[in-house]
Structures are given as structure tokens and as C-alpha cells.
Assembly symmetry: C2
Homo-oligomer: 352 residues x 2
């Protein structure tokens, strides 16, 4: 029996509704594969911020440092500025635990229609590998001349050889297990200091992986091609900002942001990695039992993969997508099931 300690951070809104299904699904699939989970729940959220003035306690990071992984629901609530909820919880976890890869698989699933004419189930199958701890998301910068006509703001992007190398190595290794094709997102024609550096370092990594085909596309053209020919991509590697944009865009091309999963990985497993559905806390439908837990369940699949249990992961993903293919889905996908109903269908498919 393999045992894992998982930190659960349900967060806000539907975050608290989609984690219990993921937990139940993990327990069910774990039973069949000799894996046991101990879940510790943490109430870090905007509600906590409003009551106690901080998203998490001062020693929050230390409380989860020893866990094998973190499963997060969603963070954000009206009245709490984004920079508070994110920079007070999500981003410190990503950085402290060196989760330098943000992994965003995108696939057209049966039961989730793509908005593209050409794209049916199976036609799009790509992974966005996003650099997750440096680049354009930087705390360096500020404002000057507040309130005057001359006011200005500056923001520094910082890219390191080490940071680019490790995320590119991850992307190339992943491509070796998949379609052997990496597309690097750049903008070296417009962003003239950091992006040519990105290109150079990615090219050095590419040279170490001669079995993988390498392409480079400017971010504007790449965004357009994701819409015009998404089937052409296998692994896309991009900076923090470019990866953020491309992964949401690719999820939309596949039909829905609402079902997309994300892994914030520390590939060396020196620190816990964090798994979270891409959707937000959805205040408009929160508390009604209607949330779609597929994004959270698929994120749990990424967690199983990361912990070294790809067969268990594949079984869970097959159960979740199989329920959809059977026509059981929540309202956001045009179905009639509620959160509990869809979850039951997934658990039934996993079996006792």
C-alpha cells in the first residue's frame, strides 16, 4: 500500500464544491491500485482574508511543505482584489515550492463540443507547458508621479538561463513521450531583450533532443494558428504570460475552460506540486450544487501521473470522460446532471 498526504485547499465559491468529488474519485481509484490518501483540509480563502486579514496564516507554506501534493479548488471572490487573493496564496505557493512548470493538457472530449467547425473528439490533443515562476510576472517595478499628468508605471520582466532551460527540458522530455514536436512561443521581433534570449536558450535545449521536431512562432501568429489549425500542435512551451494566454485559448478551442485541468509541478518532487482546475470560483453559480467537477477530477488525474501512477490516472480520466460520452454532464456542457449526479456516474464507472 502506497500512502500519500494531500493538502486540500478548497478556497472560494465552487472551489469548495468540486474538491469533494475529486477526493471521492481519488479514493475510489486508489482502492483499486493500492494507493491510500490522507487528506488535510485548509480553509485558506477570501473568506478567511475578510475575517482575519490574510489568505493564509503566516506559517501557511510550512504547514503544507511536508505534503506530497496540494489540491486546490478556486481562489477569488468579489470584494477581494485579485492581487490580494492571488499574490497572497496561489503565487507564493508556486514560487516557494519551485513549481516551475504549469502543465495544461488540452483535448477535445466526446460530449464537450469544440466551437471550431473542423474539430471533433480526438482532433486536438496538445499540452501547454508554461514557465510558472519568473518572466513577466515580476514584483519588480512601480509607479512615479502619482496623480500627475506625467505619471508612469514600469514593470520589469526577468528571464534566467536556468529558468528557461529547465522548463524547456521538461517540454522536450514530454514531447519525447508524445508526438515528438515542440512549438516555442516567442515575440523576439517586438520584445527585443528577453525574447531573443528565450529563443537562444530554447534552441540550446532543442539541440540536445534531436529526435524532437522544433518550431518557433511569434505569439500573435501562434494564437491565430491555434484557432486555424489546432491539430498541428503537440507540446507548446511558453513564458509565464504567453503560456497563460495560450493555455486558456487552447482550452476554449477544445470547447470549455470549465473542464480544463492544471498542474503546477516541481518536477524533481523536492517540494509538493499543486493541482487545480483552471476555472474560477464562479460566484454566479456557487452554493447551488451545479458546478462541474471535471476540471478538479482531471487535475487529480495529473496528480496521479505526477506521483508515479499513470495507470490509475488513465483509469480515472477514462471514467470521467466515459460518463460524458454516456451523456451525463452538468449544465455548463448542456447536460442536466448536478455536481452529485455527474460525480456518481464517474464513481460508478470506477467500480467498487
Amino acid at each position: 500500500m502506497t500512502r500519500y498526504r494531500i493538502a486540500l485547499v478548497p478556497g472560494d465559491g465552487i472551489g469548495t464544491e468540486v474538491l469533494p468529488p475529486a477526493e471521492a474519485a481519488l479514493e475510489a481509484v486508489g482502492r483499486r491500485h493500492g494507493i491510500e490518501f490522507a487528506f488535510d483540509a485548509f480553509d485558506w480563502s477570501c473568506q478567511r482574508y475578510l475575517a482575519e486579514g490574510a489568505m493564509m496564516p503566516a506559517d501557511g507554506l510550512d504547514r503544507i511543505r511536508g505534503h506530497d501534493a496540494v489540491l486546490l479548488g478556486a481562489v477569488g471572490w468579489p470584494g477581494v482584489p485579485d492581487h490580494v487573493s492571488l499574490w497572497g496564496l496561489l503565487i507564493p505557493i508556486r514560487r516557494e515550492f519551485q513549481q516551475y512548470v504549469n502543465l495544461r493538457p488540452v483535448r477535445v472530449l466526446e460530449g464537450v463540443p469544440s466551437p471550431l467547425r473542423g474539430a471533433g473528439a480526438g482532433d486536438v490533443d496538445l499540452v501547454v507547458v508554461r514557465e510558472n515562476v519568473e518572466g513577466e510576472y515580476s514584483e519588480i517595478g512601480g509607479r512615479m508621479g502619482r496623480g500627475t499628468a506625467e505619471e508612469l508605471a514600469v514593470q520589469e520582466s526577468v528571464f534566467t538561463r536556468r529558468g528557461i532551460t529547465r522548463v524547456a527540458e521538461y517540454a522536450y522530455a514530454l514531447a519525447e513521450d508524445r508526438g515528438r514536436h515542440v512549438t516555442s512561443a516567442t515575440k523576439s521581433n517586438g520584445i527585443v531583450h528577453t525574447m531573443p534570449f528565450w529563443d537562444e536558450v530554447v534552441a540550446e535545449v532543442a539541440a540536445r533532443h534531436p529526435g524532437v521536431r522544433s518550431d518557433k512562432e511569434h505569439i500573435d501568429a501562434l494564437a491565430a494558428k491555434l484557432v486555424l489549425a489546432p491539430g498541428r500542435f503537440d507540446v507548446i512551451v511558453g513564458s509565464n504570460l504567453f503560456g497563460d494566454i495560450l493555455s486558456d485559448l487552447a482550452a476554449a478551442v477544445a470547447g470549455s475552460i470549465g473542464v480544463a485541468p492544471a498542474g503546477n509541478l516541481n518536477p524533481e518532487r523536492e517540494f509538493p506540486s499543486m493541482f487545480e482546475p483552471v476555472h474560477g470560483s464562479a460566484p454566479d453559480i456557487a452554493g447551488q450544487g451545479r458546478a462541474n467537477p471535471l476540471g478538479a477530477i482531471w487535475s487529480a488525474v495529473l496528480m496521479l501521473d505526477h506521483l508515479g501512477h499513470p495507470e490509475a490516472g488513465a483509469e480515472l480520466l477514462a471514467a470521467a470522460t466515459g460518463a460524458l460520452a454516456d451523456g451525463v454532464s452538468t449544465a455548463d456542457l448542456g447536460g442536466t446532471a448536478d455536481t452529485a449526479g455527474y460525480t456518481r456516474a464517474v464513481l460508478d464507472r470506477i467500480g467498487p
Copy 2:
């Protein structure tokens, strides 16, 4: 009779093939509206760079400063790095002439099928207003520790109150003439110094235009919504980088980058504005007479609008789209016409 002096910069590849059709179309429509054009051609291009070491002469900007507008074909050629061709020609023109608005109208045209299931002719009709001279495209930055494991690159984004205000004012004024809705692209949850500043200044401008509905979307979510519900947008205003990405993405949603036009505007007409198709120099099909001149012709329409002749512009656009609707189109749109054939169809529709 109104007379204009237009600087023609055909540039590279198919740039040289799409400008003569635009010139002919302008002359034809001008005859019917009492407008006369004097065209001066400039050979600024990658070919010139390879022969003489510079994309344009040292006094290039002064040679076109007195013109009423610049019509540009395409710039870029294999063997000449992008940062040379762009920062040696396109970007200096944008900056020296304070072309602080990059105007990118996007429409689904009859004869140009959208890749989206839902979108037929007329379903998408939006304009991206891109800030065109500051922001993320900055010369400030550099590299340190070249070749070492510790190498890093930094790049400064610079946003000014003046720069944001004027582009937002342009967007709101445009929306007042259109659908009375502006969506501002931001990323204030991740880019924590410049983007909250952008949001604040755009909100100040919005407050001066109470008749226009204002929305704000993070760039990742906005990219997704452009694919999932493009019909919801009217005017989108974004920074230099975000506007660049969104305008190519929106053009793809409408079916083709190949037909999209762009205006680099100095709205005050203190300096010449520049008009250019969005497509590149297309080395793969250059010299074969197969290029689609619609992007260049539509850019000439934007020039007519800017110079104060919207009726002439509307007539030219109707001729260009009418030819398409009649089934005359170039190979990139699935048609059988060559450049000359499509141009003839447009000129025929304008009449003598």
C-alpha cells in the same frame, strides 16, 4: 479636387505585389469622389538592407514626414533578422510619427469562411484598438552574465498616463460611433505594476463616456471569449502586446490573417499615418502573382477614412467584398483568381 501625397513602401515579397492593386483601387474610387493621389515610391526593404546595410536611408523619416499618409506592403525576408527589418523601418515610423493607435477592424466577410461553427458573414464585427508606441515594446533592458549559467535578461515595460489616456479616448470615441461598448484587455492579477495602472487610467476615460458600456477582461479569459463568443465584442482596447495578440487572434476567428488591414494612426494628423495589410511578405508564394491584395485594399479603405473620406472608403470596401461575394477570390481563400484577376473584379465594381 482634393489632392494627397502618399508615400508607398512596398517592402519585401508579396508586399510589392499587393500595393499596385491598392494604388489602382484608390485612383479609381478617387476619380468618383474628386480625390487625387500623388504616389511616391520608396524602395526601403530587406533587399535594400542586404545591399546597403540599412532598411532605409538615414534621413528616411524626413523624406516621408511631409506626406499625407504612408501605404506599406510587407517587411521581412529570410536571412534578415526580424529585429533588423522591424526596428529599422516599421517601428521607427510608428514612433517618430506618434502613430499611437493601431486600428484593426475584424469582420466575417461573405466568401471568407470563419473556422467557428457559429459564425457566418456579419456575425463578428469588432475593432481592436491597440496602443502602438509604448508599453511592452521597449528598448530598455539587456542581458548580463553572457554565456554563464547565471545569465539573465531583463526587459522593462513602460506605460504612461498620457499614452494610456489618448489610446483609450480614441477607443471610446470610436465606440460612440459604433456599438457603444468597450472591452479593455488587462492582466492586473498577474502583471501587478503596469496593468493596475492601465485599469485605473482606462476607468477614468470610461467615466467621461457614460453612454458607452465598459468591460474589463484578463487577457487569458479574453482570448478564450474571442473564440467562444466573438459576437459579444465591439471595440477592444489593449496595450501594445495584448493588442498585437488579440488582433491576430480576432482576424483568425474571422477566417483569415491574409485579408486583415491595419492602420497605424496619428489621430491628430500632425504626422502621416501608415496603413499596411497584416500579412507578411510570404516568401513561399512571392513573385508568382498569386498574392491576395484584399488586405492592402482594405488598408487603403482605412486610409480614406482617416483622411476624411468615409463614403469613398465604404464604396471601395463594398467593391472589394462584393467581388468576394460574387465568388472571385484568390487561392488562399479557396478561389481560382490570381492577383490581377481579383483586382480587375474590384475595379470593375467601382466603375469608370
